[in-house]
Subunit: 233 residues, 2 copies
């Protein structure tokens, strides 16, 4: 019997790209800076998986996501004429990843799902980042499970198996909900149930994959409210 | 600046003794069993710290709290004429620790404190136990930090320092709220701020300590609502 649902967060639960573009425009206005913010955010978001892979493959010691975001931002700023940003300004941009807006169906969907299941994050974000985000976006998590708890990034199996252990559930009684096929694939290898939600605008014009389910996941739903309906809650 | 409050849970946030006595009476009624339930619960609660100390001192490998509760229950049952309980009945008693009632000030106090600070558990309970309890007792935690995340029990320093790290805060910007002086002492040694709340009826007639603050903790409050008032929220 399914006991708990764990959720990928960036892309699945929150619309990081639109949120960060909006925040960076505001950042530019407040600091009298101009840049192609959307392009910067797209480049920055594009660094997400390669950077974590450096940690996953042992080329970089354990580094939390905020510090990875800072490192990739530093690399990108010269390309956008922003090498002169102060430390506080860079910090403000990096902290933007803590305060992202949910998709329109997110809060209603999670609230319904929580009536029947334990709901938790299972994200490559850090616990503090995810707690800040939950407060900001009013995400009703029962628990926050994060990469820094396991000191591993998804899709390392340690993350999924560690989550099942902390939830005191056999993996087959936990379901990962994600907008990314690779994440579901890794979860399934660990014995998890799987649910795919498409977020076809997550990456904006650069989106090249995850438009639809690429395998026979246990559930495929339009969004989190549809998933709640399919799960009878 | 204080960023986060972390809370001892058993005794500080929930009234485990009254809850378990009430539940065990109900358990007796449903299963047609008679026993001195209050005495059993007092004995069981008295095993809490000695059992964890076995793990802390390396005499027992890492064992989560549910399994420690089960082990101590097995030892106690013969004394109460309950050796014949089924596995499911023992499981039901052990699971009672997941469903404990808050003190009258708890939910209102936490709700006020959460307006200003990140609030999280910092408990020797397991993550699943604490998530079950939060759902049952409507405790509005931002995050659940538990012994099984750190694989150490309080008062080991790994628990406090690990919590500060996951909260991405220096220890001096985190405050432990607890009804137990030993817990606050260990937190203070790790650099935490400290707040004491007396729970003089936690252990019932057997209570022998923690009637009042035994050191100059940063805050001493009557209860969680009083603490919220003292912290200006």
């Amino acid at each position: 019997m399914l006991q708990a649902l764990v959720f990928d967060v960036f892309g699945t639960v929150v619309d990081w790209r639109s949120s960060l573009i909006r925040r960076s425009h505001e950042f530019g206005r407040v600091n009298s800076l101009t840049a192609d913010w959307a392009d910067l955010i797209d480049d920055w978001g594009g660094q997400y998986r390669p950077l974590m892979d450096e940690v996953r493959l042992g080329r970089r010691p354990w580094t939390n996501l905020d510090d990875l975001h800072r490192a990739s931002l530093e690399q990108l700023l010269p390309r956008y004429g922003l090498s002169h940003l102060t430390d506080a300004q860079k910090h403000s941009l990096v902290e933007g990843w803590h305060f992202l807006d949910p998709w329109p169906d997110t809060v209603a969907g999670l609230t319904r799902l929580r009536k029947k299941f334990i709901i938790a994050t299972l994200s490559n974000g850090g616990l503090r980042l995810l707690a800040d985000m939950a407060r900001y976006a009013r995400l009703p998590w029962d628990a926050i499970l994060s990469a820094d708890v396991f000191r591993h990034y998804k899709p390392d199996s340690e993350v999924y198996l560690g989550a099942a252990k902390l939830l005191d559930s056999p993996p087959e009684e936990v379901m990962l909900v994600a907008a990314h096929n690779y994440d579901l694939e890794a979860a399934r290898k660990c014995g998890f149930k799987t649910a795919f939600i498409p977020r076809p605008s997550e990456y904006g014009p650069r989106q090249s994959r995850d438009f639809s389910a690429e395998s026979d996941w246990n559930y495929v739903a339009r969004d989190l409210e549809d998933l709640a309906a399919q799960l009878g809650t």
